[in-house]
Structures are given as C-alpha cells and as structure tokens.
Subunit: 207 residues, 2 copies
C-alpha cells in the first residue's frame, strides 16, 4: 500500500475532474472502501452503501444528467473568473463515460422514513466520503465530490435499482489525474476569518 | 507536528467521549483547524465557521441541552447491549463542562436563505469535520462527532450569537482520552454488505 502522512494527504487534497485512461484496479477500490467504512456514523449504524460503477453506458447516462444540471447552474457564468474554476467544462461535463470509475455514496433514511430535512442528515455519510477522497489520493488517484446528479435523483435511482428509502449523497469520479498529480496549494480563506473564539465573530482569543 | 500515516489515522479512528483534564494547546487547535479548512466545499465557497469553546459556563449550558436530547433518545435503551454503546453515559452527558474544548462546526446557508432540505446540504461541512477528527487523532487527541445539540439549536445559536442564516452542523468535543489511546478496531459491517457493483444489491463484480 502506498501510504502517505495524514497531514500530507489533507494538505494536498485537490479536486480532479479530468482523468487518464489508466485503469483503476479492484485492489485500489478495496483499499479505498476499507477506508470509507472506518468513518464514524451516528450510533455506529452504518446506513451507507457504495455503488462502484464501471459500466460505460451507465456512466454515459449519469453524465447526461450531470451535464443537464451543470448547464443550468453555469448558464450565466464567466468561466474565466477564478470563482468559476470549479465549474469549468471537464470530463465530468463532456465525457463522464471515460472516467474510469464512479462511486455513488448512498445512505438509507432513518426508520421514520421521512426525507432528510436538516443539515445533520449528512453527518453520517460525508465523513466516509472524505475518507474515500483521502485514501484515493494516497494511491495517486484523483477524485472530486459532486452532487449535481441529485437534480435527476429519481432517474438515477431507477437506473441503478436504488430503493426509495435510500438517498444518494455524492457521486465521486475516480481515476488517475489527466495532467499528473498536482501539489499546488488550494485557495482557502485565512483561519482568522473562519475560526471564532467563544462567540460568533470573535476572532481573537481572550486570555 | 506529530504526523502519522493516513491509513493508520483512518483505521484507528475511534469515538472518544471521556477526556482527561490535560489542557489542549492553542497550537494544537491551529494545526487541527488548518487541516479542517483544506477540506473541499461546493464551488470552494467555504461557507464554514468553527467556534472554539473553552468557557466553562458555556460548556455547562451546552451540556444541559445535550443531556436533555440524550435523555429523550435513551429513555428505553438497555445500555448493556452492544448497539447502545455509543449512547452510554459519558462526560458528554455528565460533565460537558470538564471537556477541555468544544468545537462547533457551522455553515452559512446558500443565498436563497432556505433551510437545508436535502442530505447534500451537509456535503460541504462534514468533510471538514472529518479532517478535524483525523488531525486531532494525529496529535493524540480524542473526538467524537455529535449532533444532539440540534434539538436546542435556537438556544445554542442565541447563546453564541450565531446568525439566523447559519446552521450548526456538529459539536465536537476535543481532549486527551481519559483512558489513554485505544487502538482496538471499530466494529464495522463487512465490505461485501455495503459495496455494490454497477447496481444496488449486486455484491459481486461481473467480469
């Protein structure tokens, strides 16, 4: 196993949306999924399932739905602006069928059967998704977390025979980066804008 | 920095709910928060904020609300059963004020101002929460992801001056584990129950 340090993995995580044709082995998928299920979940209930999709026709149809949602949100977007960088055309919008693997992270609803209605409904699936992305990077594989498929969630669920009481949380493309591995630092707001002490907005710590 | 391998961090992650009195340094908090903000977020918008809470009276009040929510969900629970293990009485239910640090992970709502209404509303905050927990473990610190405070979210937000358009996603206690670091493996469903190939329920891969 190609292991790297935790902090190297965390600090080098980048969104990858273009992939080479190099295949992803089943062993790599297993290593990644073993990492996924070590994530915590509420009450350790593990109401998660992960679909590994390699079928070209399935990827093509998922790509069509992704493209439709992408077109809608980018219709007025200037792709040259830095803020639009995550939305630029890529293999996800033009060639999803060529992405080696798609992982669809799913979660069964709580037993009351209601739709998820608060932010915390994702608290037991996205830690596993983050483990997937970190573990992939340790193997030299690129990923990005996407949710645009949810515009067509009913059709996605029908295509993949996903039960009614299961939500699709993220579609994660997986493959070796088209342009080699990038180590440039991602752009982030400085800590003193987002870390508060004791009260909202208080950016300095009282002694 | 105490670094460990990514896979060691992922595979040794355990929920810690009882903490020693050993203080947590500001340097440790900074290391952890620098890891948090490297996580991906939709469109790289970083609509997150993190409250670092050390004030004893604030922790005590958060503990009261946590206790109230915990009592409600555990009223009929047999704490001896393995499934109830995550719900057993702990410093979170009896002594939240003694937890060295509480981190409240928050997210500003999308500009339409509506309440989060689908599982994907958590997709841009829980990856950062997972980074917090993994980075803490690299420093020998214990954490657990909790959401019970949301039963009293309005009161929590008032106490901490959190704006209306911000949701509280997780309350993460942080400290050195009371019982030393545990390396026992967490209980998880086997991969072939949760990883499907091409279609829901298909546990074997066709060639």
């Amino acid at each position: 196993m190609n292991d790297i340090s935790l902090f190297d993995a965390i600090h080098s995580q980048r969104a990858v949306r273009n992939f080479s044709a190099e295949p992803v082995t089943d062993e790599a998928i297993t290593t990644i999924m073993e990492a996924a299920v070590r994530a915590p979940s509420g009450g350790n209930r593990q109401r998660w399932s992960f679909l590994i999709i390699r079928n070209r026709e399935v990827k093509r149809r998922l790509g069509e739905w992704y493209f439709d949602a992408w077109q809608e949100i980018t219709v007025d977007m200037d792709f040259e602006s830095p803020a639009a960088q995550p939305y630029r055309p890529s293999m996800l919008t033009h060639g999803m069928e060529d992405v080696p693997v798609l992982i669809l992270a799913c979660q069964e609803r709580a037993s009351d059967g209601n739709s998820p209605s608060s932010i915390t409904s994702g608290s037991s699936i996205y830690p596993a998704v983050q483990n997937i992305m970190l573990a992939a990077s340790a193997l030299g594989l690129g990923t990005v977390i996407t949710t645009l498929h949810t515009k067509h969630e009913q059709e996605v669920k029908e295509l993949l025979s996903i039960p009614d009481n299961v939500d699709t949380a993220a579609l994660i493309p997986l493959g070796y980066p088209a342009d080699g591995r990038r180590f440039s630092r991602s752009r982030r707001r400085p800590l003193d804008e987002v870390v508060f002490h004791e009260k909202w907005g208080k950016t300095t710590k009282a002694q």
